[in-house]
Amino acid sequence: MQCENQEALLRCEDISFTYPGAAAPLLKNISLTLRPGQCCCLTGPTGSGKTTLARILGGLAPDGACEGSLHYAPASDQSFPAGLVLQDPDVQLLASSVGAEVAFALENLALDPAAMPGRVIAALDAVGLAKPTAFPVDKLSMGQKYRLLTAALLVMESRLLILDEPGAQLDPDGLAHMQDILRQLKHAGIAILLCEHRPEPLLEVIDDFWQLSADGRLTAGRWTGDPLQVHTRPPNPAQSKPAVLRVAGLCFQDTQAQPVWTNVDLTLRPGERAAITGPNGTGKTTLLRCIAGFLSPRAGTVSIMDGPPEPARLRGQVGLLFQNPEKQLFENTVYDEVAFPLKRLGLPAQEREERVNAALEECGIVHMADASPHLLSYGQKHLVALASVLAPKPRLLLLDDPLAGLDDVRSRSVLSTLSRWSDNYDMALLVTGHEPQANFSWAHRVLRLEGGRLA
């Protein structure tokens, strides 16, 4: 559908961008053009500036020095030239009902309320979201929320859509729906820019790849990074050892007394690594919180190291890292951040130092020991948080979607670190994720949580 002769919907020339206080520009001399019906995918390592570029192209440049020029195709006063969906739909959905969400942009244009329902329903139709306008937003699946956000942009008559990492949030079903919608939008002459680490599920609709290098330059082609060897797992050595984690007949109900999952059985022995995959909203995080003793199951038992899952008993023995682990960082230096759990465990200074250095070295962040964790990139913060849960040498580590937002190279590096640590210290590992096609060569077992059952 892309047409070389049509007027460009977006043309940017020689864009450079520097964050306040940064020594060098993050983006250097970026030039690109997007035409009607064209779908481009912007690739690049974590921290290379894809989101920053997406924001600049969407007309929402962050604070900093931005040079160069940006031209959109002419649009009416009642429309927006570009629409931008950022990561994490949950913080972008501003209303409580489907209709009010889509109408938000129309409210901002001060459109007559009587004219809103027609435009809202047309936008919902365009993304195939057949829900009443009064339908509550929080009852939608993650895939439906993403489509709702897309409708909320289409209602603004934007002819350019910029989507920042849909793959980090959507499960395979959500991505398949998204691909169908993107195909239809291309046919309708809408240009699409995807910023994506893992574009495989959307390959059919992508026309061109661009790559942002670590030095901030944009070139044609797809970034894949230098492949790292994932630590290959040895034959499972742990069968004779007593279980670290034993889950039997576990059932959990939500606040409306609806079962989230039932009869979950799981045993993990020292050094054993298991992955749990499943679509969004199936209760993977809930399962981890139940195992850690923060939620009470309706039925069944959890036993960790032959005892009940009481958080006070599990300190230093069980590590837990949620999505976006950066939010747990609070110390002034990376070293102090990693040393914090060891101080609380009362380890002597000499042993603390040895363990901190070992964790920093394993995560490849020794050179950042004196840096403030708050000023690091997303990927680096991830590694600091990981080092801080590894340092106490827990016997069981629970990780909730630890690779979300990380590029393939960084993901392999994290998995490699976890595998080595697991082998060296007999640490059992339980990792959740929503990508069933991911590489699980590091795991001894891959389980699927779907339809309320773990299999």
Binding site: L60, F80, G83, L84, L86, D88, D90, V91, Q92, L94, A95, S96, S97, G99, A100, A103, F104, A105, L106, E107, N108, L109, A110, L111, D112, P113, M116, P117, V120, T133, A134, A152, L153, M156, R289, A292, F294, P311, A312, R315, G316, V318, G319, L320, L321, F322, P325, K327, Q328, L329, F330, F340, P341, L342, K343, R344, H374, S388, V389, P392
Partner: protein, 196 residues
């Protein structure tokens, strides 16, 4: 919605024990009228306990004596009574209806900001819970039984309150960006979606 706002405003001017007791009774009556059962009250009271604990610890740090505790408790009580009716009503009235009501007495943009703050409270609380649980297993002495000992209170401040404030600011930034991406602030006037 209007009743909730009146009750919330009254919480800020009720500074004596009798007034606070009368207002508390009025709030309970409103909860019964809205058919928010004892479960809601229990959940909100749990929040009140946490909030009171934090405020009292801050007062102790500030005044370094027990004299300030009653004043701290009253502040916590007032804040609770300011939030309770809004939290109760927000679960029974749609956000669009709330914005429409607020728009009659406030500028359109202010009405949106106020209703959005209320909408995102549960998300922020879930984030704080995540932070709390992660820090407990990192060894922070912040379980209820730990906090009986005042020398553990700094852990609560450093490991939970500071990251939660940072997270709250990040959340506010993301919400503002999402609103701006859809034209919030582009026009000085806003209209309201006519449906739910």
């Amino acid at each position: 919605m209007a009743l909730a706002m009146v009750l919330s405003c009254l919480a800020f001017v009720s500074r004596t024990l009798p007034l606070l007791l009368v207002l508390s009774a009025a709030n309970i009556l409103v909860l019964v009228w809205l058919r928010r059962g004892p479960r809601t009250l229990k959940r909100e009271l749990r929040t009140f306990c946490w909030q009171t604990l934090i405020i009292l610890s801050l007062y102790l740090l500030r005044f370094r004596s027990m004299d300030g505790l009653w004043a701290g408790f009253k502040v916590s009580w007032q804040l609770f009574l300011a939030m309770l009716p809004v939290m109760a009503v927000s679960k029974t009235v749609s956000q669009a209806a709330a914005v429409r009501t607020l728009s009659r007495i406030l500028p359109g943009q202010m009405a949106f900001v106020l209703s959005t703050c209320i909408k995102f409270v549960p998300l922020l609380l879930a984030e704080i819970k995540n932070i709390y649980e992660g820090q407990v297993l990192r060894g922070a002495r912040i379980l209820p039984r730990d906090l009986v000992r005042p020398w553990h209170w700094p852990d609560l401040l450093h490991c939970v309150i500071v990251p939660s404030i940072v997270q709250g600011m990040a959340l506010a930034g993301n919400i503002a960006l999402a609103a701006k991406a859809r034209g919030f602030g582009r026009s000085p006037r806003r209209t309201c979606w006519p449906g739910m």
